[in-house]
Amino acid sequence: MRSRSFETLVAAGLVLIFTTAVLLLTGAPPLEAFSLLVRGSFGSVSKLARVLTVWVPLTLCACGLIYTFRIGLWNIGVEGQVILGAVGTTWALRAGAGHLPPGVLLALAMATGVLLGAGWSLAAGVLRTRGGVNEIFAGLGLNFVAQGVVLWLIFGPWKRPGVASMSGTVPFPPELWLPNFSWGRLSPVALGCAVGALVLTAWLLGRTRVGLFLRAVGGNPRAAHLLGLPPERYLLLAMVMAGGMAGLAGGIQVTAVYHRLIPAISSNYGYLALLVTMLAGFRLGPVAPIALFFAGLNVGSVQLPMALQLDSSLSGVIQGASVLAVLLAHGWGVHRARRQA
């Protein structure tokens, strides 16, 4: 345990040095830039609300990824699962608007998002179990298809009257928006979903046999099979859990953030969640704080162009550098341990 916190410290140091060097190279004052990042993300309650709005889908996706990583699957398709969730939710809202009371419709729409996300993920899973297609390639392919579907819907069947536009479909009426807290742009329902997913995942993986079986199948499918655990079923279960949570994230993007379907509805949160999970060492515990760190960077970095005329892609640099630094520090730790042994 001690060596792990040491590795984290080394990694954080590396990221800090690297980012400062980048800032100095671009001629920006590093201290002010860092202070802007902090103030821009946690400097006020409204900013905190915004950070949590990013944290929710990131955490949902990362939670889902824990299942697939546990069984040894690389669910790159998480991005497309977010998109399909958003499509499902939008579809249900469009179909049900005016026919159902808003509260019921919203719940149904979110459920539709979960189902579509899970279905999209299941497709990649079945391709793997039945078609022998590696889930990385299946997922990547399905991501492109999902992006194509969204663009087709926005520019085709769901276009605004007369005008197809990159700004997306016609916004839903306010009664179909998830309500916000009074103190900031954050939906309590969305927050509840993310916290619920964390609790559910902790319970399923820690307290029930599901977690054990997933790990067993991931570690040695053949042995698991001999023990009477059907590997295929657990593989698909992991994919469905991941896809469902990603789909929920997509539904929240529609109902709580954009209030319509836009081409970039997933905001790359799926890919970002992969980084979060890697940085968390594929364990659930660190997911929430790391997702919070990434969300803070994402939100705070908007201050850089506004105050310093700096490009806000610095946040991407820090995120990428963090993952690399942790892998590096971990590799170095392993290497050192081996030499001592």
Partner: protein, 391 residues
């Protein structure tokens, strides 16, 4: 862990207590730009107008953020950015893209004591704008007519290409205006039948290139030049038309281009640039900001035209056309006469008989178009090639 929590709490407390607002007497305004501030196109024209306001209206100060679109800034919404700008003391906020129409109304409703300007939108005209929102646009139609005019007088092949962004009322209106200017020059100056003029619009899908999402404007431009179109009129926010035309020049092709949006767009493209129809946002910004500063704000729909005394007057003309270095010398006096006739009202190109692309009547013989008919341009016109609506 405890020290970490303490440190974070301290930083947060310091951040909240630090004053963020503007100094007393300063009028701070915010500018949301859809593209990069230095795109040599639409966004740069806005950015430079804002900088000029800072210089010429004492006591004003601008905060801007560029690349405000979901592709460049995933997860960032207009209401969030507006919250930030209001927090930094902005009392008036300008949103420079059609793309921001939903977000800016949402933000305006949430901040009733801040003024908002939505550029190119029609909320006020359509009667559904909050009191604190105005719309601003330039009557680019005239400058686009001039662009079409010089294009038709320069082309050797009789084929003019139009690099269109996405399809909507505004972009149809501007493509149509270019066509009307071109057709006028073709028929009345070159004395050739309109049927011999080819005018084709190809839409890329957005105001600028988004890899994987829009058609690549560089390729679209190359296709035009490779299939015999020798003058390309740009309708997009960025500079691909002139850049590709220059490449084709280097390969020995005789081609020209007309960029768009930004007065400086011909710089560095002297051998191909026929001129640029551009926006000068300064007069419009000035009117709205001064009204807000003096407490005389009202929700307005401003569609500001050229100053016909001098369409390139930086103080007064909201749209202009700057002839480019590649404009043939003999065309120059013809252009001047054309501008004069447009200005005096002797010439109105939005006059019937004009048909829509599907053959239905846009304007009957002798009828002139109203502002509404021009603003909400429903289709391209008969004689133009290309799609009238997104498929």
């Amino acid at each position: 862990m405890r020290t970490l929590t303490k440190t974070i709490a301290l930083i947060a407390a310091a951040a909240v207590l630090l004053p963020a607002g503007a100094g007393a007497g300063t009028f701070r305004f915010g500018l949301l730009l859809v593209g990069p501030y230095n795109d040599r196109g639409w966004s740069q024209a806005h950015y430079e107008a804002g900088r000029r306001i800072e210089k010429e209206i004492p006591g004003t100060e601008m905060i801007y953020i560029d690349k405000v679109n979901p592709a460049d800034r995933p997860g960032v919404t207009i209401p969030q950015l507006v919250d930030d700008m209001v927090e930094k003391g902005c009392r008036l906020i300008i949103a420079n893209s059609d793309d921001m129409k939903d977000g800016i109304v949402e933000a305006a409703l949430e901040h009733p004591d801040v003024y908002f300007v939505h550029v190119s939108g029609d909320h006020v005209l359509a009667g559904n704008a909050p009191k604190n929102l105005s719309n601003l646009m330039g009557r680019m139609e005239y400058a686009k007519m001039m662009a079409g005019f010089v294009a038709a007088l320069t082309t050797r092949t009789g084929k003019i290409g139009y690099l269109g962004p996405l399809v909507n009322d505004e972009t149809r209106r501007l493509a149509v205006s270019s066509y009307l200017g071109a057709r006028y020059a073709w028929e009345h100056v070159r004395k050739r039948p309109a049927s011999e003029l080819k005018f084709r619009v190809n839409w890329i899908g957005f105001w600028f290139n988004i890899p994987g999402v829009t058609a690549d404007p560089t390729q679209v431009a190359q296709n035009f030049f490779n299939s015999g179109y020798d003058v390309l009129v740009s309708g997009i926010d960025t500079t691909e038309a002139v850049v590709v035309a220059q490449q084709k020049r280097k390969e020995g092709k005789e081609v020209w281009a007309v960029p768009y949006d930004y007065a400086g767009a011909c710089e560095g493209a002297g051998d191909v640039c026929l001129g640029v129809p551009y926006f000068n946002w300064f007069p419009g910004y000035k009117m709205l900001i001064q009204a807000a500063m003096a407490g005389k704000w009202k929700s307005q729909w401003l569609w500001l035209g050229p100053d016909w005394k001098d369409i390139n007057d930086h103080q007064t003309s909201s749209v202009g056309f700057l002839p480019g270095p590649a404009l043939p010398a003999e065309v120059r006096p013809q252009l001047d006469a054309f501008v004069r006739d447009l200005g005096s009202g002797k010439l109105n190109l939005f006059q019937g008989p004009l048909n829509y692309q599907d053959g239905s009547t846009f304007l009957a013989a002798g009828q002139t178009a109203t502002d509404q008919q021009i603003w909400y341009m429903k289709q391209l016109l008969q004689g133009m090639e290309g799609q009238s609506s997104a498929k």
